[in-house]
Point group: C2
Chain length 566, copies 2
């Protein structure tokens, strides 16, 4: 299943991806997953959606096992969580385990901003890489459409007599676009006189931060999707009572716009192992997990399902467990915690330009970050396998530091070379994961029970996971939390929006800071998704583009091939 004709792993990911031969997706689905062609909706010859009807028919099948891939705190040095998710999946297949991977869909905005593509790297990629990075089967566009429809219906409702008595000053449902567009963060709409609506403040978030995205990713089926949509709180009346999407009649049409997007997308790894790529909330501003539909469907089709949670374990894994698992009944049978020598050196204070030099001391210093994440995962009753995502310049001495830490903490550490070697390079890691799976599921526990007050939930995450001394609520946030409890939403989990670069709200505070305070600026209720978003520090739900956006380098060459999509 390996591909021997590929360019060396140092080549740009897009060149490796393009050189890889792909199996036609319909036969692959039939052979590897037992999914018949009529259960699939092809998008080209190498992508397909799985029909909701077929998914329904799987209910009585036994579930496979679930592996969560998470990581240390991200740095510009890169950790390769997606790459490792793909690598361990290919590695499991190498050792005879029928495994598939469940990833999130990349967002267009960041793709044209700083980040480039998000489909793995080196020999551990999902393909077709370009399609996955652009428009991917229209899911995010459908989310943007459904969100835009609701936004338009709200202002239209106010315009035509406002039967629900919406207070235009208290419309809480913002607008979205799948683009990094800072100029739309804070806007005034409805200008130009009576024919053009009622003037009011408004703003755009990026699509991945939309409650509609969260709902699509947490819905169990199409009816659950519609019900959740109907529960979205869009505004308050003068008497402060909430107005929902259901109150203004938007949920049916929104569900119609989303019904195809709810179908998981099947593609393949470079080594022809099946992959679902579905849903894409960011873990810094949203809940950061692949869809429940995709994860659960994959568990019906494969013996082992590998899925990632976004950014570091403080954000992605916390939300995977406390939100996605809490709501869906899922629980991981094993956890992989990805670290790299380079990233640990940065956590230990080394500047990006100096990462080339061997520095076991810095690794040791930075390993406090890894240690904190391991300790955190143990609070959930989970014993992670640490994956060292190997770079060619890593020294044995540096690797030894991490292995020693693993021994101290009683966790396995596996060196993994999937980036350079594909699944063959991930056999050590896959074997370690398989040993964990063979032990059977551990007794897991959520970080806090449902009935903890909302502010206390935020404080629990801040103290237990971020190592903070406490939280500081703005008066607006404090009032909102009280109001949400009064409305009957005290029982939902919290989704903390905060920088991914530190356990604290200061992105430059590396390692394993403690004693800091988590500043909660704002609280937003996502009644349909079923959580409260706590916006902390300076985090923005609409990113901006950098001075030299990636878009400026992206184009088509004279053969019509895409260039510049990293």
């Amino acid at each position: 299943m390996t591909q021997d004709n590929l360019p060396a792993p140092g080549a740009p990911d897009i060149e490796i991806a393009r050189a890889a031969t792909m199996d036609p997706i319909l036969p692959l689905a039939e052979k590897r997953l037992g999914v018949p062609p009529e259960a699939l909706v092809p998008f080209g010859h190498h992508k397909a959606k799985v029909s909701l009807e077929y998914i329904n028919s799987l209910k009585s099948k036994k579930d496979g096992k679930l592996v969560l891939v998470t990581a240390i705190t991200p740095t510009p040095a890169g950790e390769g969580k997606t790459t490792t998710s793909v690598g361990v999946t290919d590695g499991l297949n190498q050792i005879g385990v029928n495994a598939m991977v469940c990833l999130r869909e990349p967002s267009l905005g960041p793709c044209f901003g700083m980040k480039g593509g998000a489909a793995g790297g080196g020999r551990a990629q999902v393909i077709p890489m370009e399609d996955i990075n652009l428009h991917f089967n229209g899911d995010f566009h459908a989310i943007t459409s459904a969100h835009s429809l609701l936004a338009a219906l709200i202002d239209n409702h106010i315009y035509w007599g406002n039967e629900q008595e919406i207070d235009p000053r208290r419309v809480v449902f913002r607008r979205v676009v799948d683009m990094n567009d800072r100029a739309l963060r804070n806007i005034v709409i409805g200008l130009g006189g009576p024919a053009n609506g009622v003037p009011r403040e408004n703003g755009f978030d990026i699509t991945v931060a939309s409650e509609v995205m969260a709902i699509l990713c947490l819905a169990n089926d199409i009816e659950d999707l519609r019900e959740r949509l109907s529960r979205i709180i869009v505004a308050r009346r003068r008497d402060k009572s909430p107005v929902t999407a259901g109150d203004i009649g938007a949920d049916g049409a929104m569900a119609v716009l989303l019904k195809d997007a709810l179908q998981p997308n099947l593609v393949q790894t470079i080594e022809h192992n099946p992959a679902f790529i579905h849903g894409g909330p960011f873990a810094n501003i949203a809940h950061g997990c692949n869809s429940v539909m995709a994860t659960k469907t994959a568990m019906k089709l494969a013996d082992v399902v590998v899925t990632e949670a976004g950014f570091g374990a403080d954000l992605g894994a916390e939300k995977f467990l406390d939100i996605k698992c809490r709501q869906s009944g899922l629980w991981p049978d094993a956890v992989v915690l990805v670290a790299t020598v380079r990233a640990l050196k940065m956590q230990g204070g080394v500047a990006k330009g100096d990462l080339g030099a061997p520095n076991a001391g810095a690794v040791e210093k930075g390993a406090v970050n890894l240690k904190r994440h391991i300790t955190n995962l143990k609070k959930y009753g989970l014993n992670p396998v640490v994956a060292i995502n190997h770079f060619i310049h890593d020294t044995d001495e540096e690797v030894a530091v991490i292995k020693k830490l693993g021994e101290e903490l009683g966790v396995k550490v596996a060196l993994s070379k999937h980036w350079a070697e594909g699944g063959k390079g991930a056999v050590e890691l896959a074997t370690a994961v398989k040993e964990e799976l063979d032990k059977g599921k551990s007794e897991g526990k959520l970080l806090y029970p449902d009935d903890t007050p909302l502010a206390k939930k935020i404080e629990t995450v801040a103290k237990e996971i971020y190592g903070a001394e406490g939280i500081s609520l703005s008066s607006a946030a404090a009032n909102s939390l009280k109001e949400f409890e009064k409305l009957g939403f005290g029982h939902v989990p919290v989704c903390i929006a905060k920088t991914q670069y530190s356990f604290s709200t200061d992105p430059t505070n590396l390692g394993a800071p403690s004693g800091h305070t988590l500043e909660v600026r704002e609280a937003r209720l996502s009644a349909g998704a079923g959580f409260v978003v706590a916006v902390c520090g300076d985090i923005m739900t609409m990113p901006g583009l950098p001075k030299k956006p990636a878009a400026l380098e992206i184009g088509l060459d004279k053969d019509g091939q895409i260039v510049g999509l990293a």
Copy 2:
């Protein structure tokens, strides 16, 4: 090829469409058009895009003939231009002509507003109807994305030092969303302090009005597309010189976002005849034609290609001829002008509620509208076939009025029953069209030469087509036109944005008004599309939703089937 199992034509279009059996699209393309499966990109089992590579390979093939379908001035009674385009295509196939149809893609916004779907009606529909009406292969979403990327890059450029010295007061490139959202017509963006951009006035249009949409529809190939994108004028500097999308480096990434959308979409009529549905500018606010790529490709694949131009012939046909044909070198070999007895009665002053009663006098009175359109088409050297799109309550006497007018003007009049009977019902019309085609192409001529000054071009359309006495330019519009000429764009055609409901700018002025003045409020230069938009009267490039939007009735039933999509 007819389907005998369908519900009676009085049933909702969606029920007929859903009951129709569809041929799998890959074999259909091979059998009917000679397109091999590898030249197609399937979207599900019944839709496919045609690859640009394959289209390139067709260059040396002989062209088929082109039939333009246009209509009288639209009324709420309905004319059925799309329905007739499908009907005459099915009819041509019934009489042994290898014909296919080229339509525009419906826009999401209106689908949730007033209009419902736009894929024909009765037995003359293109299918799968629901997919065509929703998201259709992602083309409009790609246009919205490419447009949004350019908009974000402009504000980002200003934010990060403004190397091009863009005057923020003179950014002319607006934003778009594919939704009727009047509250976004006039907005102020960039609020919230220095980190959130530079405050300035801005506004959203609906996606169909985007210059990017026009460019996609007029581009000859991917390189022409990129070049046109680079020519879009986005702003002025302090010295009034124009800043283009190319100047800020956006064209490459925009072309990447649009490369799949440039591929025509193949579907089928209920009678399994091939149809391209591609591009979708509205004819009231944009140029209103199917893409040049689709029309030209269809002419390589079929002997006769039927294509529609939006709304009445004053808008759609004028723009088809003076913009699309001028730029592409196409010219119709025959023209069908669609009228209905009911619509002519409304043009004759009958209220919608009274249309049920026979009223040959009103038809005669309203026929001035039909007569004006026929006379107009003759100015292009075109002799239309009038198609009476038959409703069951039309009387022989009413029909006779139209036939008599046809005789007077020397044009054929054919009664067509495709709505009730499909292609069999359109044999009379198809036969009349075939007779016109067999005569060979007429000597056609454009309404005005390229070197006419811009204001004079608008005046020519106003006088010759709308029957106006003259035009009145706002001072802003007059200044803009002079500026566009100074910039070297005096040679481009004009695209008049105006109400579709009257030859005048007053939507209640029915029949064939004359003596009126065309008020030009604003002029916008579309340097990439290659025309100047003259915004006239009260027309809006962002529609609003009605008090009871169609969205409120749209939803999923308990089997997950869409309801309420008319």
